[in-house]
């Protein structure tokens, strides 16, 4: 086996590059001497905030039907709505004042939590209107509710540019909701760019699923 993986102390980083051909030996630990790399403390480990595990998907969370191919959007809004259990609190609060039929339709639309975008675009597509309108109605009727909009991109392009593009998508959704009368105070935006794909492949289908904004209620 090649020995390229040898772990030894980094020792001092700096090799004397000066004309003097003698290496400076190990120096006494001096807090201001950053070239002294011996006896490093272990790397800090950052763990997740325990209250918000990302591994288990929210059972009440349903994506707007992911388009099979980039711009076609074969999503049928009716189909993903059927048969899933609604998050109880969100719905109970919201439906109390409405007729059963309207409430049911609204509840179904509220389960749509993922909205998709075209390549390098941040325009909200017509397929997203129904779901976003329902969320707007819910937020207006529940002013204590807080919604986080998470912007995402596909893997093509550079990381920082994609962070900006993901934010542009999340902001487009925020502007749309505010345009419908939602208070901006109820909304927050975070972009993960291409860092958190929902599909891992390198193909059109995966990319289409990854160009998205996810809605996450941080307070009902």
């Amino acid at each position: 086996m090649k020995k390229t993986a040898q772990i030894v102390t980094i020792a001092t980083l700096a090799i004397s590059m000066a004309a003097c051909s003698t290496f400076r030996g190990p120096r006494a630990i001096n807090p201001n001497d950053d070239s002294q790399f011996e006896n490093l403390p272990p790397a800090p480990a950052v763990e997740a905030i325990p209250a918000t595990p990302e591994a288990e998907p929210n059972p009440g969370l349903i994506a707007e039907a992911a388009p099979e191919a980039p711009e076609t959007g074969s999503a049928n809004l009716a189909s993903p709505i059927e048969g899933s259990v609604i998050e109880p609190q969100a719905i109970a609060t919201d439906t109390s004042a409405n007729s059963t039929n309207t409430a049911s339709a609204l509840n179904d639309l509220l389960k749509v939590r993922v909205f998709y975008f075209g390549t390098n675009l941040s325009d909200i597509t017509a397929l997203s209107y129904g779901g976003l309108n329902a969320h707007a109605q819910y937020l207006k009727g529940n002013t204590a509710a807080k919604l986080q909009l998470g912007g995402h991109t596909d893997e093509r392009g550079t990381r920082e540019y994609n962070l900006a593009l993901g934010e542009r998508r999340a902001n487009a959704v925020a502007r749309y909701l505010v345009g419908l009368g939602v208070s901006a105070d109820q909304l927050s935006v975070v972009s993960y760019g291409k860092e958190k794909p929902s599909a891992d492949g390198s193909d059109e289908e995966s990319w289409a699923k990854n160009r998205r904004v996810e809605l996450d209620y941080t307070a009902q």
Binding site: I7, T9, D34, A164
Partner: protein
């Protein structure tokens, strides 16, 4: 609770001074994928005397081989194994097909330090063109070998070598079914890798301070992006920015006193410069487009950056004092995340070469000539070597992220695959002084 047994073990081994080659699960290994015919042939004789895990001569040979400028004569073709010029029989060695011969030896001093002696001989008269002795601490055998390789490279090519430099990169791996992220530091040959940060949330955009004593990066550990600065000797981290919205793309000014970055705290991704003494922010761009990925020119007066103000992302140059902004790239619809060579001559960037191919391209800023260096589909994050002669970048092999190193003409290429998980966003250190 998640424990870090590996990290602790590593620390223990380190303290005990034991080599732990087999345990470096995230380390890089190197494959040369494309070589040059006209490289200078050189014979590096294994060093005599005290040797640690790797023979000093073998480390030097590997360094020179990977530079693209040398072809190292196979050991089996060496007629003998001299440790000094005095042991060389000219009649035998004159037939060796090498322009240069390197010989040397190591001895241990009573205080434990290592004493090195080496000579570089030129074919023909076998005259010594370089010869030195020096002493290092016992833990610095690899540093000593890289130092000798740098000296040989400088003597033979006239250019400074980069064998004693470091590389910073992000390693994504899986543990317990979850993606995790590590910020890693290693020698440029992949050896002596250490973990600087281990997180369940993404780490990106690592960058070096000009002194190479500190690094900065973006971490999502608080579930939103923040820029951190970390001291490499103490490992101490400080959060530099935590504004609403994007906190990204940190880049140190050449004098080390300012940090360029992308913030969207005023509503849109814009470039800012932070004075690192006062933390005062100056906004540099004001444009509804995305402005991001700043890099300083060596005089500290300008930034090159990515903007989609013309429709798609292209590279621009901003004069910080005057605000004058000039578009630099016009080839293709997508050019982003440029790095500027330390000699200010070249721009390396991610270029959409047509279809879904994102490759590394180079633009010569002296004449505008644009060339595509790679033909792999999802290349990223080019970063120049401090001598401006090589670029390290992230690429794919199969479905896995690996690192590549190539010469600026794209004719010499190396690949550094990760043993565990995938690696990306490599950043080449400045010279270490």
């Amino acid at each position: 609770m998640l424990t870090r047994p590996f990290g602790l073990l590593k620390f223990c081994l380190l303290a005990c001074g034991i080599s732990a080659a087999s345990l470096a699960n995230a380390a890089l290994t190197i494959e040369i994928t494309q070589r040059l015919n006209e490289a200078t042939p050189i014979a590096v004789v294994p060093f005599g005397g005290v040797q640690s895990a790797d023979n000093t001569g073998a480390i030097i040979a590997a360094d020179l081989d990977r530079s693209g400028s040398f072809n190292v004569v196979e050991r089996s073709k060496l007629p003998s194994l001299p440790s000094s010029s005095a042991e060389i029989l000219p009649s035998v060695w004159q037939s060796v097909p090498a322009d240069y011969i390197v010989v040397g030896s190591v001895s241990r001093l009573p205080d434990g330090r290592l004493s090195y002696r080496y000579e570089l001989l030129k074919r023909g008269g076998l005259e010594r063109v370089l010869g030195e002795t020096f002493t290092v601490d016992s833990g610095r055998a690899r540093d000593a070998a890289h130092y000798i390789a740098d000296k040989i490279y400088k003597q033979a090519t006239g250019e400074p070598g980069i064998f004693a430099t470091k590389i910073l990169y992000v390693n994504q791996y899986n543990r317990d079914g979850r993606k995790r992220y590590r910020l890693e530091l290693s020698d440029i040959d992949g050896a002596r890798q250490v973990t600087l940060l281990d997180s369940v949330e993404p780490i990106l955009s690592p960058t070096w301070s000009p002194s190479a004593r500190q690094i900065a990066y973006v971490s999502f550990e608080s579930r939103k992006p923040a820029i951190f600065v970390q001291n490499l000797s103490t490992r101490q981290r400080t959060k530099l920015t935590d504004f609403s919205g994007l906190n990204g793309a940190p880049s140190w000014s050449p004098d080390g006193k300012r940090m360029a970055m992308t913030l969207s705290r005023d509503g849109n991704p814009e470039l800012y410069v932070m004075d690192l003494t006062t933390n005062a922010l100056t906004r540099l761009t004001n444009n509804p487009a995305i402005d991001t990925e700043p890099r300083w020119t060596s005089d500290g007066k300008s930034l090159v950056f990515t903007s989609d103000r013309s429709g798609g992302p292209q590279i621009y140059r901003l004069n910080i004092a005057t605000g004058d902004t000039k578009r630099l790239t016009f080839t293709g619809k997508f050019n982003a995340r440029a790095d500027i060579s330390p000699n200010d001559r070249h721009l390396a960037m991610v270029h959409q070469a047509g279809g879904n191919n994102y490759t590394i391209a180079l633009q010569d800023l002296s004449n505008g000539i644009f060339s595509t260096l790679t033909d792999t589909p999802l290349d990223e994050s080019p970063s120049f070597s401090p001598n401006s002669k090589m670029v390290v970048y992230a690429t794919r092999k199969g479905n896995k992220g690996v690192l590549g190193i190539m010469s600026l003409d794209g004719r010499f290429k190396l690949r550094l695959p990760a043993v565990d998980g995938e690696v990306r966003e490599p950043v080449w250190s400045p010279y270490l002084r």
